[in-house]
Symmetry: C2
Subunit: 268 residues, 2 copies
């Protein structure tokens, strides 16, 4: 893709597992590591990157010549989202081909400026956007986000199977909302279960890139347009994302020139 060196899809089988939150923090962490980074919000029905990056309602991208748009900039990264094009309160009641068309427009008409990494925030499921991505875009790898409970793992498996079918290497699994720590007594509770990320990583011979807690602060920070990596750059959450960013960069560097369909690393 023009203006983009590497493309990483951030996906989950199921919605609501924190995929957009992981995407934006991972992108900001990669930028903090010194790379030039962009985020493409491919969730057409429910785009959330505008709010998470603190881009105000109604801010629109500038045209760049005929038929192309400049991405918006926020916290030092470039971003494109359906939310920059339409009223975010209006539902896009669209059948699949319209969705695939809108996604393809964002893919082909955004004028990214010399990116090392473009992170694509995928919508949930395994439908039109996923098929379009697989057919039109040379994706270097996929990061799978899941919560630890059984019902979410069921869908995470499907996400992994889908990327395998289309020969996109799965770089690893992010287990999100792992443990809730009580802000009063410090008691830890596996509200959404425990150990699911590890199980699924073992099952598919991939690694756990990070285990993130169920923490009020992470949610408040993205809701407020200042993701944790920006809001608390020296905090534990930012450190987890910086570590995740380094693992992603290492794996992609290692795969350059490797045309094989899958990469696996031992976690010993």
């Amino acid at each position: 893709m023009e203006g983009v060196k590497h493309i990483v899809a951030v996906a989950s089988g199921k919605g609501g597992v924190g995929k957009s939150t992981v995407t934006v923090n991972l992108a900001l962490a990669m930028a903090a590591e010194g790379y030039r980074v962009g985020v493409l919000d491919a969730d057409i029905y429910g785009p959330s990157q505008a709010q998470m990056l603190g881009v105000g309602e109604g801010v629109r991208p500038q045209a760049a010549g005929e038929n192309r748009f400049l991405p918006l900039e926020a916290h030092g990264i470039q971003a494109m989202s359906m939310a920059f094009m339409v009223d975010v309160r209006e539902p896009m009641v669209w059948r699949g081909p319209m969705v695939a068309g809108a996604f393809q427009q964002m893919l082909t008409q955004t004028k990214w400026d010399d990116l090392d990494y473009l992170f694509i925030d995928m919508p949930p499921g395994t439908g039109d956007v996923q098929l379009t991505l697989a057919q039109k875009v040379p994706v270097d790898g996929a990061v799978i986000v899941t919560t630890p409970q059984d019902i979410a793992l069921l869908d995470a498996r499907k996400g992994i199977e889908m990327f395998r079918k289309v020969k996109v290497p799965v770089l690893g699994v992010v287990e999100n909302m792992s443990l809730h720590t009580c802000s009063q007594c410090g008691h830890q509770e596996p509200v959404f279960g425990a150990g699911g990320g590890e199980r699924i990583a073992t099952e598919y011979d991939t690694r756990v890139l990070a285990r993130l807690p169920l923490a009020l602060s992470i949610r408040e920070q993205v809701d407020g347009g200042r993701p944790s990596v920006v809001a608390e750059p020296e905090g534990d959450i930012a450190a987890s994302f910086r570590d995740m960013a380094r693992q992603v960069a290492e794996q992609i560097a290692a795969s350059v020139g490797d045309s094989g369909p899958s990469i696996s690393f031992s976690e010993e």
Copy 2:
């Protein structure tokens, strides 16, 4: 629809807010109130009703004459899901028209047995399944599930707007994962924010049907195939769902013969 008196869609703009958990518990609560109840799992990409109802992998519905299927029975309610038709581990990598087709088959080929209420567990978003539903099915009302945080409300609004556009009355909003109560010290924490359900209900002149806590037990019980209403019929959670079921029944009874597009009740 043949064999069905009333149809209620349970929807959310965003995935992962507990829509399937609310659907199955609301259906079981309605059955506990003495009605004949069915659940249609319209989430083609990520069906979860089989696991939530404790229906084993590989259990398949029986044929009923040419081209029709009997729903499965579990905990006294009837159920149909894509999970009864296919291997739940395989991703359905389908474009929209395939998904709409599969949904329409489940709608037309399931032989429901004399239901008072059919609850449809909708997939997230406002796409093919939602359009097919609006065009093919006489839906009596919609229940909107949301978590309280801003990002989820953004999508819940879209869900409500969509039902308004197609003249389906919104029966109310369920605020899920409202407060987490520490199992050790009892401290309550608004992990996903607070008050969002109330705000959106006011904004759209509808009611809050229930506020449900972020509780380990609710998740464990559906993961284990015994939803809270069945697992702890005398508990607080079951009581909330029984109350929700009565509100749904009352509103639908009140709307019989009313051809107007929207129903609203004062919550004073």
